[in-house]
C-alpha cells in the first residue's frame, strides 16, 4: 500500500511549527536544563555599570535578590503534585516560574559583572556563598504555611521591587519594574487564601494562626539594614498590608521575636538554617554529577 496523499502538505516546506526548532537547537548543542544553551536572559542588554556604582557591590546585591527568588522558587516547585487542587497546582507552579525568571535575570546581571554564568552561580556555589534570606529556605509543613509564607515574601519583595524600579542601575531597575506586576499577583493570591483559611473553619483558622506564629520570626531579617542595597522595602507598607489581611482573616499578629542572627550574621551573610543544605543537594546534584550533560 502506498502512503496516503497529504493534500496541500509539502513536508519540504516550512510547516511554521515552532516546536520544530527543538531539534535544530540540539544540532547547535543547546541544552534544556542547565548548560550554556539556555540562552542568556539578558541577551543584548547593555551590561555596563554606571560610574559611581561599585560593580562588586551591585553584583553582590543582585546575587542576593536572585538567590531569594531561586531558593524560594525551588521550595515552591517541591509543592507541585502535592497541592490540594489542580487550580493550586497551576498557581504555585506559575509563581515558581515567575520567581525562577527573576532569579535568572538577577543572577545573569550579577554574573555579567563577576564573569560567571547564571548556571555557575546557581549550581556550583557552596551554601555559605548563597545570600538569600532565611525565609526563602523554610520548608512549609502544610498549605497554611505555604500561603502565609507567600504572603510575607511577596509583600516584602513587592515593596522592595517598587523601590528598586528607580534604582541607580538601569538593568536592576528594569528587572524590578517587570517583577512588580508579577509579585502583585502573587501577593493577591496569597492574601485571598490567608483570609479564606483564617476566616474559614476552626481547624483552618488554628492551622493558619499556627503557620503565622511559626513563620513570624523569619520576618525580622527582611528589614535588616543591608549595606549593598540599592533600594529598601518600607516596613510600614509591609505592616499595613499584613494588618489588613490579618484583620480581615481574623488572625492575630504574632509578637514573637525575630530569629536571632548567628554571630550577628543572617542569610544575606551566608548563614542559613539546616534546611538549606538539603535544598542545595537536590537543586545542584544533577548539574554537579553531570556538568557537561546535554539534553
Amino acid at each position: 500500500m502506498s502512503a496516503p496523499e497529504l493534500d496541500g502538505l509539502d513536508p519540504s516546506e516550512d510547516s511554521g511549527n515552532p516546536f520544530d526548532l527543538l531539534a535544530e537547537d540540539h544540532d547547535e548543542g543547546h541544552r534544556w536544563a542547565f548548560g550554556t544553551g539556555f540562552t542568556d536572559p539578558l541577551a543584548g542588554i547593555d551590561m555596563s555599570v554606571a560610574e559611581g556604582l561599585g560593580p562588586g557591590a551591585l553584583a553582590r546585591y543582585c546575587l542576593a535578590l536572585g538567590d531569594d527568588a531561586l531558593i524560594y522558587s525551588h521550595r515552591l516547585q517541591q509543592w507541585v503534585a502535592g497541592l490540594p487542587e489542580l487550580e493550586e497546582e497551576t498557581a504555585v507552579a506559575n509563581i515558581a516560574l515567575d520567581l525562577l525568571g527573576q532569579a535568572r535575570m538577577l543572577l545573569a546581571r550579577a554574573g555579567g559583572i563577576t564573569g560567571q554564568t547564571e548556571d555557575q552561580l546557581a549550581f556550583f556555589r557552596e551554601e555559605k556563598d548563597f545570600r538569600n534570606v532565611r525565609l526563602a529556605e523554610h520548608a512549609d509543613r502544610d498549605f497554611a504555611e505555604l500561603v502565609v509564607r507567600l504572603l510575607m515574601f511577596s509583600t516584602w519583595r513587592l515593596a522592595l521591587f517598587e523601590s528598586l524600579s528607580s534604582a541607580a542601575d538601569p538593568v536592576l531597575a528594569a528587572i524590578a519594574a517587570k517583577g512588580v506586576n508579577e509579585l502583585a499577583y502573587h501577593r493577591d493570591y496569597a492574601a485571598r487564601w490567608v483570609i479564606r483559611l483564617g476566616d474559614g473553619t476552626p481547624l483552618s483558622h488554628s492551622k493558619t494562626q499556627a503557620a503565622l506564629d511559626a513563620l513570624w520570626p523569619l520576618a525580622g531579617e527582611l528589614f535588616k539594614p543591608d549595606p549593598y542595597a540599592l533600594g529598601r522595602a518600607d516596613q510600614g507598607a509591609f505592616d499595613a498590608v499584613l494588618d489588613i489581611v490579618l484583620a480581615t482573616a481574623g488572625l492575630d499578629r504574632p509578637t514573637a521575636a525575630p530569629l536571632a542572627p548567628v554571630d550577628g550574621r543572617t542569610g544575606r551573610d551566608g548563614i542559613h538554617t539546616e534546611a538549606m543544605g538539603y535544598i542545595l543537594a537536590e537543586l545542584q546534584s544533577v548539574a554537579r554529577a553531570y556538568p557537561d550533560a546535554t539534553w
Binding site: G16, P41, A43, D98, A174, I175, A177, A184, Y189, V245
Partner: protein, 167 residues
C-alpha cells in the same frame, strides 16, 4: 534603502508565531518591539518577554533568527528589552480578534497605577464568554496553563475558558 531593509526585516520577523499561542504572531502580542539596521549592515531585532520566567523567549528568538536568515538577511542579532515592561495593552486589535476566535478571552485594559500597588482582595470582573458571549462568567483560577492566562467558567454555557491576564 536603509529604512527599507529594516522594514522588510520587520515584516519577516512579524510572521513568527508565539510558541504557546501559535495562532498569534509576536507582532500581534506586542513582543516584537522593533527591527533596526545595525551599523555593520545587519539587522537588530528587539523583543521583550511577557513574564520574567517566560520559557518561550528562547524559541521565539531562535525562530525569528531562522526566519530572517531564510529570507536572506545576514548578521541577524536578537536582543532583549526589559523596560518598559510588557503590557497586555500592547496586544493588537488583530491579536485580540484571534484570541477570541480561539476561545481565549482578550485582556481588559491594564490597571494604571501611580504610587504603591494596592492590595486587591476582591476579584476583578471576569470577561465575557468567548464561546457564547454571555457576561455571566466566573474566575475559577487566577493562574492557568501558561503564565499569561487565568481560568474561567461560563455559567450560561458551562464551558471553561482561558483569559489573558490584564497586566
Amino acid at each position: 534603502m536603509v529604512t527599507t531593509a529594516a522594514s522588510a526585516a520587520y515584516d519577516v520577523a512579524a510572521t513568527t508565531p508565539d510558541p504557546e499561542l501559535p495562532l498569534l504572531t509576536v507582532a500581534d502580542l506586542g513582543i516584537l518591539r522593533s527591527v533596526d539596521n545595525s551599523p555593520s549592515g545587519g539587522v537588530v531585532v528587539t523583543i521583550t518577554p511577557t513574564y520574567s520566567g517566560c520559557p518561550a523567549m528562547h524559541e521565539i528568538s531562535a525562530d525569528v533568527r531562522r526566519r530572517l536568515e531564510r529570507a536572506g538577511f545576514a548578521q541577524v542579532t536578537v536582543t532583549t528589552q526589559l523596560a518598559p515592561p510588557w503590557s497586555s495593552d500592547w496586544i493588537t486589535d488583530n491579536g485580540r480578534r484571534k484570541l477570541a476566535e480561539a476561545g481565549i478571552a482578550p485582556p481588559s485594559p491594564a490597571p494604571r497605577r501611580t504610587g504603591p500597588v494596592p492590595l486587591t482582595l476582591g476579584r476583578a470582573p471576569s470577561p465575557a464568554c468567548p464561546r457564547c458571549g454571555s457576561a455571566d462568567t466566573r474566575l475559577t483560577a487566577e493562574f492557568s496553563a501558561t503564565a499569561c492566562k487565568s481560568l474561567y467558567r461560563c455559567t450560561a454555557c458551562s464551558e471553561p475558558f482561558e483569559g489573558v491576564k490584564a497586566l
